[in-house]
Symmetry: C2
Subunit: 337 residues, 2 copies
């Protein structure tokens, strides 16, 4: 091992948040670089992504993201190069994606890393070719099942998953409406990403604007938010509509989740609506198929991927707090020094 | 027309209920028997069924049952014989099922009636071979999709649809748990209808009892109630579980529906649960298939149908009020004099 590697800076959880997450819920520490066992590799993190789902994990075991606790290194997906290998299949120098967490170095069993093929931008494995892209792809295509000409509504439409899901719906021939949290995002969705319309949920007359933006109702709702936006969308659903339940970002940054939207299950019955929750890990055996399609669309220019980059490990806590307030467009990535 | 037919007694809506339905929301009147036009038949009601869905209609246009208003004859499905026909396909004497409403006589276009074949008990068309049976069948088999060995939970399990749905789940090889509102019903479900267990939702420790009754979780929940029982069921769902949203009886007898159960859509995502609302009318082109299967099961004794009969038109309002309080077991039928 390179003797120059002296320390492993880590962002750790100081305390689980009470109410909204604050940067004070984290602290930074330097520890020794971990020991690499037989069959393992040491990865030097080049970048990791931050998503709203990261916050869900901090709600404890109630969330799908599991329950980290005080003193744990903050969890997250990252990319990096292998700097030491005791795993024959993954030589030093290879780029991999792994659950690096928020730290400079991490050790993984070879099988727990994903080798990024040569010729691919490693960062794309944190965005459109990673979990975000695959979530958008399978959530839209497999769960939402839009048909040509359907109206597809996407919430958190400027987010890491949403901005891809909306474009994938367009590629599939749908009429696509985004819901987002600022007029700047609204403009980007329409002018740069090809959404047919976008509505700012912070507007006082949001429900009225949503109605105007969906004159033919909504056939597929790709729900990243839950809460009030889901509640509003339910009233716009067409008969036989599908709701792909991807995330509940409206309820992550709190320890007192709001009540569920009104009219469940009554509205589902009246409109014969299907709501289906999914986790992308259930599609693991189809990732190759999804990635191939996504790569083709990216190469052809049909699918644009937005990243939103922040510099330095120490920026990560603030970047997550800001993301939860709606500060990002596309996938937020922390580049390490 | 037989000159002995002088009057048509009707139950009409006096006022839409504020809060709980009362018999005072109805009144009885006698009017002239309606005129029969070309292509129409006059049906003398022999019996009609009363279901919780009937109450939903009185909530106005928010319900799938549409919005009747004061002065209307109360709506409902009935069976009767054709006593006057100006429709060649349906001669006098034929038994039909039709939207008779709560009255002695009603006129229908031939196409709006359903001819009950000879050899069938006409009353079965209000129960296991009618909408109740078809709802149980398609809701369970097509929406719920139980697999051999699955645990199926049914709410309002002693009700007109529930008691059939549970038995159909058993026939399909499932382990079946019913939720009902009295210990008498609980005993009947287990000892007479073959449910593996049943839980009384009025028990203080209902959630605990539900947990004990579903040690392997719940794969399919056939939801007739919504509300607290749905909320409790959500926590028992297995990964990949299906909820067939059939009705919301817990929310019908009020003008102030309760909030939706907690954790939607979060729990749907964590457990990858599908909730699907359905209306039986969407299966109209498969009714023959459903009826054939149901008839086979009834004939073989595999499927028992419970009816709960009330005598006389004037009993109908009280029979509905009592049904909403949980007074019925099986399909409640009003026999006319």
């Amino acid at each position: 091992m390179n003797m120059l590697i002296q320390e492993n800076r880590q962002v750790l959880i100081k305390s689980l948040p009470q109410g909204k997450l604050e940067t004070g819920n984290f602290y930074i520490e330097s520890v020794k670089v971990p020991v690499v066992g037989e069959g393992q590799v040491l990865v030097k993190t080049a970048a990791f992504s931050i998503s709203a789902g990261t916050r869900a994990g901090l709600q404890g075991s109630a969330s799908y993201a599991g329950g980290p606790s005080a003193g744990n290194v903050m969890n997250g997906s990252g990319i990096g190069q292998v700097v030491l290998s005791r795993c024959e299949a993954i030589p030093v120098g290879h780029w991999v994606k792994a659950s690096t967490g928020w730290q400079d170095y991490s050790v993984h069993n070879g099988a727990d890393t994903e080798i990024i093929p040569h010729g691919y931008d490693p960062v794309s494995y944190l965005g459109p070719l990673g979990i975000n892209g695959l979530t958008a792809y399978f959530g839209l295509v497999d769960v939402g099942q839009p048909r040509e000409g359907d109206t597809v509504l996407v919430s958190a439409a400027a987010g890491s998953v949403g901005h891809l899901a909306g474009q994938i719906a367009k590629i599939n021939g749908a009429h696509v409406i985004g819901v987002c949290g600022s007029d700047a995002k609204r403009n980007i969705l329409v002018s740069e990403l090809g959404f047919d319309a976008a509505v700012n949920y912070r507007d006082d007359d949001f429900r009225q604007k949503l109605k105007i933006a969906t004159p033919n109702g909504v056939d597929v709702y790709f729900d990243n938010t839950g809460g009030m936006i889901l509640g509003s969308a339910l009233f716009r659903m067409n008969i036989g509509g599908r709701i792909a339940c991807c995330g509940v970002v409206s309820q992550y940054d709190t320890d007192r989740p709001a009540p569920s939207p009104k009219g469940i299950p009554g509205l589902l019955i009246n409109k014969r609506v299907t709501m289906r929750g999914f986790l992308i890990y259930d599609y693991a055996d189809r990732f190759a198929e999804g990635r191939e399609t996504l790569h083709k669309w990216i190469s052809s220019g049909e699918l644009k991927s937005f990243t939103d980059r922040v510099q330095g490990l120490e920026s990560a806590p603030g970047a997550l707090v800001n993301l939860l307030a709606g500060g990002n467009i596309g996938t937020r990535i922390v580049d390490l020094n």
